[in-house]
Structure formats: C-alpha cells, structure tokens
Symmetry: C2
Subunit: 352 residues, 2 copies
Amino acid sequence: MHRGGWLESPSIAFETWGTLRGKGDNAIMVFTGLSPSAHAASSVENPAAGWWEEMIGSGLPLDTDHYFVICVNSLGSCFGSTGPASIDPLTGQRYRLKFPVLSLEDVAEGGYIVAQHLGLEKLHTTIGCSMGGMSALGFCVRHPGFSDGVILISSATRALPFSIAVRSLQREMIRQDPKWLGGNYDPSDPPITGQRLARKLGMITYRSAKEWEQRFGRERVTAEGHAGDPFHSEFSIESYLEMHAVRFTGQFDPNCYLYLSRASDLFDLAEHGGSLKSGFSKLKLSRALVIGVETDILFPLHQQQQLAEGLSAVASEVRFVPLACIRGHDSFLVDMDAFRPVICSFFETCGI
Amino acid sequence: MHRGGWLESPSIAFETWGTLRGKGDNAIMVFTGLSPSAHAASSVENPAAGWWEEMIGSGLPLDTDHYFVICVNSLGSCFGSTGPASIDPLTGQRYRLKFPVLSLEDVAEGGYIVAQHLGLEKLHTTIGCSMGGMSALGFCVRHPGFSDGVILISSATRALPFSIAVRSLQREMIRQDPKWLGGNYDPSDPPITGQRLARKLGMITYRSAKEWEQRFGRERVTAEGHAGDPFHSEFSIESYLEMHAVRFTGQFDPNCYLYLSRASDLFDLAEHGGSLKSGFSKLKLSRALVIGVETDILFPLHQQQQLAEGLSAVASEVRFVPLACIRGHDSFLVDMDAFRPVICSFFETCGI
C-alpha cells in the first residue's frame, strides 16, 4: 500500500464492454467517484442499468463498437474489490479498521493490476470522474506513458479545505453514530443514522443551490402523519434529501465509505515530486480533456482550470471545457446532454 | 403567536446603549442572527465584549454619542427571553416541544414590546443581520411607518432551498442524538454530539471556501495522541472546525436552536399579502441600506439584490452595497473594516 501496510491476495472487481484490439490500442479505463461500483453500463451478464449507462455503449461517447471499456471498482470499496468490509484471509475476520491507510494511488494500482490481468501494455485513455479523476492522475503519475490520453471530469489535483471539511464532517456523523462501535458494527445493523446524515450533506454539496432554487423553491409537501412533530419535513427539499438518504443507506459499507472519503482528502499530486509542477512533469500524455461545471462547490471550476494549465505543460493537446450545467458536482451523472458531445468530440479527434 | 398558540407572561431580554431622545427620534433597534444574545456591546453593567463590539459605541458606526441603541434577544432564544428552555408559568415545567411554533414575526413582536416598554413611538432605524434581517422585515411589515429606516445585512426576503436543506440537516443532527430524547433531554446532559455536528455544518456555511483556501490550504496539524485512530483530525481545517464546535457547545439550548432554525425556514415576506411585491408594498420606509457579501452561500448576494429592488419600490433612498469580503456569511461579525464605513455613511446622510 502507498502509505504502508499490505493486503494478502486482494481482489479487484471490474467490468468490460466492447472488444479489445491489440495490446490496449482501443482500451479505455474508467475510475469511479467514491460510491459507484464497476457496473458503469448494462451488459449481457448484468442487464441492470449502470451508473454511466448513457455514456457507454454502441454509438455512445465511449463507443463499444470501437473501444474496449473497462471500469474498476476502487480498492477499499465494497462491490467486489477488497476493502475494510472484506474478510482478511490471514485472520478470517473482516478487516474493519485494521485495513491499512488507503490512498488513491492504491486505487490506481488496482486499475493497473486489472490492465496487467487483461494483458494490456497500454491504454488509449484513462477517465476519472470526481474522486476517480484523482485516481486517474495517480495512475498516470505512477505509470507514465501507459495511458496515451486522459479525461478528468469534475476533479482536482488535490482537495481544498472546504471539501476536506465536508468529508471530515460526514465521517464524524458516521463515527458518532452509537451503532458504529468504533468500526466494529454488526453488518446487519450498521450505523444507518450516521450514514443518512452523511448522505444528506453529500447531496447538499453534490447538487447546486441554483438548481434547487429553480426546482424546489419553497414548495411544500403534505404534512400527513406528522401531527405532534414540530420538526417534520415541511419543504419539498427536505423530503428530497430524505428520499436520497434512504435510497443510499444499506448500499454502502460505512467503514469502506470512511476509508475512501479519507483517501480523497489525502491525495495530492504535489506529493509526487514535491510540488504540483513536478507532479505534472512526471506525466507522459498525448491528449488531455478537462471538464468542470460552474456550479460545482465540491470540486470548483478553478480546480479544473488548474488541472488544465498543469496538463498543458506536459501534453500537446489539452482541452479545458467549463460547462454551465446547474446541477453542480453531480452533473456528469445527470446532465448527460451537456457531457456527451464534449466526450464524443475528444474521441473523434483521436481517430479510432 | 403568529402561527397560533400563546405564551403566558413572556419575557424579552434587551440591552441599550446611549441616551434616548424624544419618543425615539434617535433610537436604533438591532435584531440578531440566530445565536447571539442582546449583549451586542460592552457597557458599565456588563463590561464583557459584545458580539458587535466594534460597531456600537462612542465614535463607532452605531454612535452612542448620538444614538440610543437597543438590541433584543430573540423570543425563542435562551439568553433571557422566553423560549423552549424557559419554565412555563402555567405548568412549572420547561416548555420544551410544547412551545408553540415560533415565527420571526413573533421575534419582531418581541422587539415591538420592548419599544413600547421604553415609551417609544418611533424608531430612527431598524437593523437586522442574517436571520435578524428577516425579523427586521417582519417588524417593518407589521408596524409600517414605526421605523423610519432599515438596514438589512446578509439577509433575505425568505430562505432558499439550499439554506433550508442545511438547517434541516442541522436540526436532524441534534434530533438524532440519542441524548435529545425527543426534546426531553437532561439540561445538564444535553445532546452535545448533535450540537457539535450542527455547529460544524454551520461553520461550513458561515465562512467561505475561498477564505479557507487562503487561510488553511492543506496545512496539517500534529497527530500527537492519535495513534490507532485512522480518522483523527489531520488537516488544520479539521481542528479549526473542532475548536469552533467545542466553543459553541453548552452555550445554546438545543431546543431553542431547533425553534429558531425552523423559524428561519418559515419566514416569507410574501406571506404578508400573497406575493413579495405586496409584502414590500406594506412597508413604509424613508431610507434603506442593504449589504451583502459575494462569498455568502447561506444568504447569497442575489437575495440582497432582490431585497434592494423590492425596497426601491417603497422607499425613496435605497442603497445596495455588495461587499467583496472573503469570509462569507460571517463577514458582518469578523470583517468590520469592510462594514463600518458603509454603515457610517448611512447614518451620516441621516443627519442626527
């Protein structure tokens, strides 16, 4: 592991779409945000819609008629890859907080192991969204030249204190839930209250005030069944948060969440060489595309600008596309009409 | 009470500075944000620094050599005014959640009762900061013409869904603390964990990402005494939040916080007549000053713009001053050098 410790026989879960050509000439590797699985798109084996269903497939921007697309479940997550919720083969017990400190460089290394497993000697493009953009940077800095291009979406060279504050508070919400039990919770009775609160704070930072002003305003919900509770959900925005919190809870292991959240705070491209400049200088890339969203408060637009400027020093073709989407950080998941043409145009110029 | 119910013999705590002239010709009434007491400035009776110490006093913008300044502790609060933590004289028990629904119109009425008690027939100016700006609007709409001028600082005609979401989550943090006990907590053992979390979220929305980027960046704290806790505070921003949370906890009664927080969500000038336009039309004012801060995410600048535009239809002299302070919503408490000259210039043109 990047910051010490090691794992016995870890697993990395991944899915692929399309057909591999050569030793990776048409291979695209996707690193995810904090919570998604490797199931980015539906497939014969798993027909359920994936988290980037409208982006990956025949005729879509990541066109599986031409490209071989790989999506990796982050090391430390709980959807098939080894993480704090996994059984340590050396003890027969879950790792829990005995899992070593997780870094996004380890997540990146998970992707590299998958590439090796598939016999790849190169990648056409590495793509990372949100936290995954930092994992993609980690991949490119540790394996310079392995990937020819990179697409970084709503990401950063490193977290700013606002984002660290938000994530630190989310972690504290989970850790303060009496059911967390210092990480030793019963998996069938996890700290869902803390998870619910953390998810609500997540939603507050994933979307935008502007979207909510247009979408909800001061719209009310009916107060049925709330007699006697002076603090029930009265505004639509409150029931919207509640709906998202309920939907998320139970899907994600709390300790895995804590480790990945902390890893997002810790990543810093500047640690690779002592400065951002030297971190960028370690990259070997032909093409880069950086996309950001004006209303993103978690990975704000000036961080995308910084990424694009840093990449310009080391890649010959760098395009920075700021989007005026109003749905904030989550736009890459929900505002496909804005993102698709930008990503399409990147691959068109690559000429596969 | 504005939304039903009533209180038996409520108290309203207030402090005054300077000397009253006439029936209120030189009287300024200050409505506070959610958490401050009436102790806005030091005095002979209480020499401790007040929350607006650098604004109120001899030679300061609210110049006590010329003006008679009154600051009111909001009804529903816990610093002398009747609130959920007070004893209901009819039962001998604390009100707790039996306190009627609190509205900022009730807070405004608390100020009016103080004015009557002091024999005032008019006010020179009503001032409100943050939530207090909405209380000041409530005061002016319920008593048109009583106050000749108004100064609204980092406030709004009504809360937007982003702010409602933040406050709703803060309330849930407190209510989910097992020690809250449905509002029936032991006053000597209150739900401080929930309060700590709520205060941290407060700080995240009271300051600005830009300030923190400049002030903290990715600065680390020493990790002494944290061996074995993989989630200890590592970044300075985390210990900064912790320091603020610890400082606040124990100062404010949790149920009072819940009521005032909810009242902030509920206030809507448009309820006074059916639309914002008709709400504004009920005001009778000569002068208005609206101040906002570019980096405020809780009461964003476009809400100050809306206030100024609405007031322009009903007051002859309206000034809107957007400030480029970087410390967000809290700027009116911590960036005195920016606010003092603006408020000074308002009173200079009034000619007392």
